[in-house]
Point group: C2
Chain length 457, copies 2
């Protein structure tokens, strides 16, 4: 019996474990779930005869080494910064490894040794990064194989609330780490390529430079730019491409309203506010507005951000109860971002019956036999319930599928990998499709950014 | 004959040296000017029989120690980060020291030992910091002595161009380090107190939250908030004050126009731009605007920042020639801030006949015998020429005056000091006045922010 060690028993691992346990008889595997809090692991293991929970503190070297040695393959679902020690153990004891996280510099440095030992360390095999890589490279490789030349690649992903649970004015609820949503877009300029020109958007303009998308049956969405659009330029083999743009998907109107918080400084996470614990929501808002002996916080807010009396943005603010003078922040030495997060979580937390939704949208523009063409490829996946969320499924399934394929030798190219080769994406995308996670392709007229061939700016 | 060592022979030291040489016979002093480039020192020393130039590399320990030992008092006009090694030598060899820079943490740590040795290390004795401390504390101390209680302290300083040299639409030229102007306001939220309420302004709103000032004979100015308004709260003894606000002075309309650069991200100094060397000014601007096959950079600019066709801001941009497609940036791996600085320096550099101007404005609100009162104290100083600039005079004179008073024992309280006590500010302000640098006080009706006593927000 082969053993798979899963480290970190967070909520997001439920689908992964369910998948592996379903396959455990036919694949003859045992699943060991290790977590610092053994209760978490026990809940996920349940009574399944092929599952075992263990207490595992990854900072206890001996404990960690023993657990890695006992396994045939290790899946680390820990936060990204904790992977590296596990990875070094896997290297030492010759175990394959899988993570859903971005390849860190430290991880990349292991590549040569991992390859020498013939091991596979598969990373970025969740949804984003993960399914985005696989579904994009599948189309890009096909276009190239047909003799096409890539002109444009745009790729957008969003974790949203499903239409049937979309019950607030923001058309948004937290389906993943709320903190990442509040500070999203900070930490550097957004840089991308449009028709051969480098473009830069600073944080304070990010949510006003959105573009629109239409997904059949699901309607209109908007997109704001990611910081790292150019990160995969070489990795995807797109060095000569004219347009390269990655972004985050929201429902239309979200960004324009979110920009109010950005403009006032409410998403700042770099300093703590005076008296944050005793502050009311209204005080919090007022801290970012000029003092006035007579004018209300509401009027100052409207005036400062030039919000018309009949603008829907205003109703979005009221829905958050952000002007309430009686609700206390109750957080000691909190940053604006932490306080805003608390206020939002009261309204944007999923109810038990709520479902989430993942939307992914790729555009591929290319030239073939002198003709310009475009393919749009979209995936929408809706969660089943609060356990089998779209996020948990689209992260957990590719991780689980990859783990089994590596264990069985179907995926075998050694090294620190990300899923961008046919060997990897073909079987995984196929199995994802069997699990209801599939892309729809559509041929479009290639418009690029220059439909009439005029001289650009 | 007593010796004063001046380290660093930058342009800003000319007035300081001229002042000390004027006094050299009556005070029986010799001035030694040390600089890494001895030619700089020689130019300032001239043929004066009381002046001597020397080559001095402060990173050469023996050289530096010898120079400090040979002097009776040391004035460091180096950039602030280089003071500390000189200060340690002064401590070791028992020499007094003067700088115009903010007290660094390292400098502050020497305080106890400096005091033990009975030495005076005087810092922050230029214009801002320097004259601002002295002129403010003089009024604050007087109010307190009369039994008054401080309610409000606002303090503003600006380095500007003199009215007779004010020849561009921005009403601004670089009279000091251009880089500091371009990145000014970055690096953290502006935090201050208004009527007992903490207020926070993020960088992207800083230049839209200005307030106005009127200076007799000089007209209207505007002010944007400094980051560090609360820094001197305790030092000035203003712990219970309701309003504490410090800011930077510009001519009206500057900030609104400057905000265009802030909004587009042109003042960002945190990343380098692709192909910056080959980029034209027009390309630079276009990098911050969306791609369009048809629309001009000008129209995209106007549309993005909502600039009306007849807005004076537009003429300010044209004056800078910022849309020129033929002028090359010519800077390798440059940040947006570096490129913007280059563009601005072409238009905002002082001509040989131009004069600069320092404006300082304090407001003191207080309560005495149940009455609320206000004193406004203002100083305007205009440079004589390109050597005796207002900046060089208002920095060099207080440094020189302090140095002599310390040498002569008039200022003698030992320790790492800043000029906030009567012993220091009284004689220095008096001599500054004799040199034409003086404040005008005016009694005003105290309005605070709450003239009608209404309930505030």
């Amino acid at each position: 019996m082969r053993k798979i060690l899963i480290i970190g028993a967070g909520k997001s691992t439920s689908v992964l474990i369910e998948y592996l346990l379903q396959k455990s008889e036919s694949e003859n595997i045992e699943i060991i779930i290790g977590d610092l809090i053994v209760e978490n692991a026990r809940k996920l293991a349940g009574e399944h005869r092929r599952a075992r929970a263990m207490q595992l503190d990854i900072f206890e070297k001996n404990e960690r080494e023993q657990a890695v040695q006992d396994a045939d393959l290790v899946i680390s679902m820990l936060p990204a910064r904790f992977h590296i020690e596990v990875a070094k153990d896997c290297l030492r004891f010759g175990r394959n490894m899988v993570t859903a996280s971005y390849v860190s510099d430290e991880m990349q440095q292991l590549d040569e040794e991992v390859r020498k030992k013939g091991l596979v360390f598969m990373n970025e095999i969740g949804v984003d990064p993960g399914i985005d890589h696989m579904s994009a490279m599948k189309v890009i490789d096909r276009i190239r194989q047909q003799g096409g030349k890539m002109l444009l690649f745009e790729s957008f992903t969003g974790g949203l609330v499903a239409p049937e649970s979309d019950t607030n004015l923001w058309n948004y609820k937290f389906t993943w780490n709320p903190r990442n949503v509040v500070v999203g877009g900070q930490g550097g300029v957004a840089k991308f390529l449009q028709e051969g020109k480098f473009k830069y958007i600073p944080y304070n303009r990010l949510f006003r430079r959105t573009e629109f998308l239409e997904v059949k049956k699901y309607g209109k969405f908007e997109v704001y730019a990611n910081r790292n659009s150019l990160k995969y330029k070489s990795i995807y083999g797109l060095d000569d491409i004219l347009t390269l743009y990655r972004g985050t998907i929201r429902r239309v109107g979200f960004s324009r309203a979110w920009n109010m918080f950005v403009q006032l400084g409410m998403t700042d996470d770099s300093y703590t506010m005076e008296n944050s614990e005793e502050m009311s929501y209204r005080d919090f808002v007022n801290s970012f507005l000029p003092y006035s002996p007579t004018d209300s916080v509401e009027l100052k807010f409207r005036h400062n951000l030039k919000i018309d009396q009949d603008d829907i943005m205003w109703d979005k603010l009221l829905e958050l109860d952000i002007f309430n003078p009686d609700k206390k922040v109750g957080l000691k030495n909190a940053t604006p971002a932490e306080i805003l997060q608390k206020i939002l979580m009261e309204k944007w937390t999923l109810s038990p019956e709520d479902k989430d939704m993942i939307v992914m949208y790729h555009k591929f523009g290319y030239e073939i036999n002198g003709e310009q063409k475009q393919i749009d490829s979209t995936m929408v996946h809706i969660g089943e319930d609060q356990t089998r969320t779209a996020m948990a499924r689209t992260v957990g399934l590719p991780v689980g599928i990859a783990a089994l394929k590596i264990l069985n030798g179907t995926i075998s190219t050694p090294g620190v990998q990300i899923p961008i080769t046919k060997e990897i994406y073909d079987p995984i995308l196929k199995e994802l499709e069997e699990n209801g996670i599939s892309f729809k392709e559509e041929k479009k007229e290639y418009l690029g950014y220059n439909p009439f061939g005029e001289v650009g700016n």
